[in-house]
Amino acid sequence: MSAPAETTEAPAPARASEPRGAPLLSVAGVKTYYGKIIALKGVDLEVNEGEIVTLIGANGAGKSTLMMTICGSPQAREGRIVFDGRDITRMATHDIMRLRIAQSPEGRRIFARMTVYENLQMGAAIDGNAHFDADLERMFELFPRLKERINQRGGTLSGGEQQMLAIARALMSRPRLLLLDEPSLGLAPLVVRQIFEVIRDLNASEGLTVFLVEQNAYHALKLAHRGYVLVNGLITLSGTGRELLERPEVKAAYLEGGR
């Protein structure tokens, strides 16, 4: 069941200063199938409160599948996913999200025929928009572009704006765990840097826990406290972001030309 991690020399350290309790999210032996095709072959990983954890891997490795499996869509066929001490493996997607996990998914999935404002309202839907106005102001501070576009339809935004909206929409639910699936995909380097800065700031100032999936391995590993490498549905490496950046396998497979 447990993933045959090829080389795990450093036992995934958390930030030195923090006491380690139970992880906020733990994924153990998770196998996910699409029909008869196996996409995740027994994944184990942990995300601690207050951490930024990055998962890197090639196309088709199962990164997005893992993100969606955490959210119960599709559900894991085997293994256990525990969030904040609660087994969420068999819970319905909307119930999982109500535990304050938020995802900015692959492809952004902005509601194209809704305005930016309505998209953000949807983000805050789980608590009936109770803190909506205050949170909206916060999003405008983080992403001033959204303020200019507030009454525009989601489908008319540029790719970068849509990505900002997707992240803002996820943040509107005041998540305890933010799942970000390839926020840099298809964006100009400047926008990528801006988005990564927002993530770092939120983590530093509010202790937001982030689980980030990226192909842009260099920036993602620099940003993260810890990272995992996913190959063909299995975790093959793990360690701190810095350690992974130094690994020859990582350099060869993910960093050539990656900066």
């Binding site: 869509s73 997607t93 909307h94 999200m97 509601f111 809704m114 949807m122 839907a125």
Partner: protein, 305 residues
């Protein structure tokens, strides 16, 4: 001119009824991509519920205030019809979600046959008449012995429809439920990722569609004063035509399509042939599907993904 004006009034009345039914088709299609063929029969069932309610109120309780009777009947018909539609979705459609695309549609045809046959057995196959409820008319103008009239019941139908549409528009555009519904319509998976209970939202869509159809059913009953177990089919298909004409999936389109089909049908009856009025309506369906499948207000789907 007088004939035209009169037919305009008649057409708008009929069109209101079609529009109310068409919303149910278009909403369900929008959210789960399925044509709910049982919707016409849900409309028919609502007319029967209305009939029973009116008879109970007048004969058993001896009520005489027409407006009170009408109001109570509307509420009762909306409640029961919603329940019927909710049950149908739960029993006949939800278990088939995730199955192949045609499965729920075939199930819907089955539900349609079931409903009309059930009413035939339970209520008998003959026309069920109702004593005329609101017989008064307003004479708008008179020329050469031809009166253009607006019946009170036509006025009621148009007013109730307009009021309902405003409320409905508010529900869809301004409330969290309407927002969740539109979100599910665009991307069910993403809606779930934002904590929306998709199954519940779909159920509520059926309930809202049925409630509007129930209003149409009671209006139909009041207008024609008679209802029959087979009355779900033709108005149902015409309302479906209206939804297609307006652009299936589009709510304003459904209302516009309903009004247009109502007008086309009555004008055709007045100027050409009343026997061929159904042919006129259904020719529209064929023509729209061939030449303009996205309908009048349908979305062209050019959004950036």
């Amino acid at each position: 001119m007088e004939v035209f004006l009169q037919q305009l009034i008649n057409g708008l009345t009929l069109g209101s009824i079609y529009g109310l039914i068409a919303i149910g088709y278009t909403m369900v299609f929008g959210i789960i991509g399925m044509v709910n063929f049982a919707h016409g029969d849900v409309f028919m069932v609502s007319a029967f519920i209305g009939l029973i309610c009116v008879l109970l109120l007048t004969t058993v309780l001896g009520m005489s205030s027409i407006f009170l009777i009408l109001a109570i009947t509307l509420v009762v018909a909306m409640l029961f019809t919603s329940l019927v539609s909710w049950t149908i979705e739960r029993v006949a459609y939800r278990p088939l979600r995730g199955s192949f695309r045609l499965a729920p549609m075939i199930s819907a045809i089955g539900m349609s046959i079931f409903l009309s046959n059930f009413v035939q057995v339970a209520q008998g196959p003959r026309n069920k008449p109702l004593p005329p409820m609101v017989p008064d008319v307003i004479v708008l103008m008179e020329r050469n012995g031809y009166q253009v009239t607006l019946a009170y019941k036509q006025l009621i139908i148009m007013a109730v429809t307009a009021l309902l549409l405003v409320g409905f528009w508010w529900l869809v555009q301004k409330t969290p439920l309407g927002r969740a519904q539109r979100a599910c319509e665009q991307d069910r998976k993403m809606a779930a990722l934002l904590g929306v209970n998709v199954d519940r939202t779909i159920s509520l869509t059926f309930v809202i569609g049925a409630a509007l159809a129930a209003v149409a059913g009671v209006m139909y009953l009041m207008y024609y004063g008679v209802v029959n177990f087979a009355d779900g089919f033709v108005p149902g298909v015409k309302a479906f035509t209206a939804a297609v004409l307006g652009g299936i999936g589009s709510l304003p389109g459904a209302v516009l399509g309903g009004l247009l089909i109502g007008l086309i049908e009555t004008l055709w009856s007045a100027y050409f042939s009343i026997e061929y009025k159904d042919v006129a309506a259904f020719s529209i369906l064929v023509l729209v599907l061939i030449f303009m499948p996205q309908g009048l207000l349908g979305r062209p789907d050019v959004e950036k993904v």
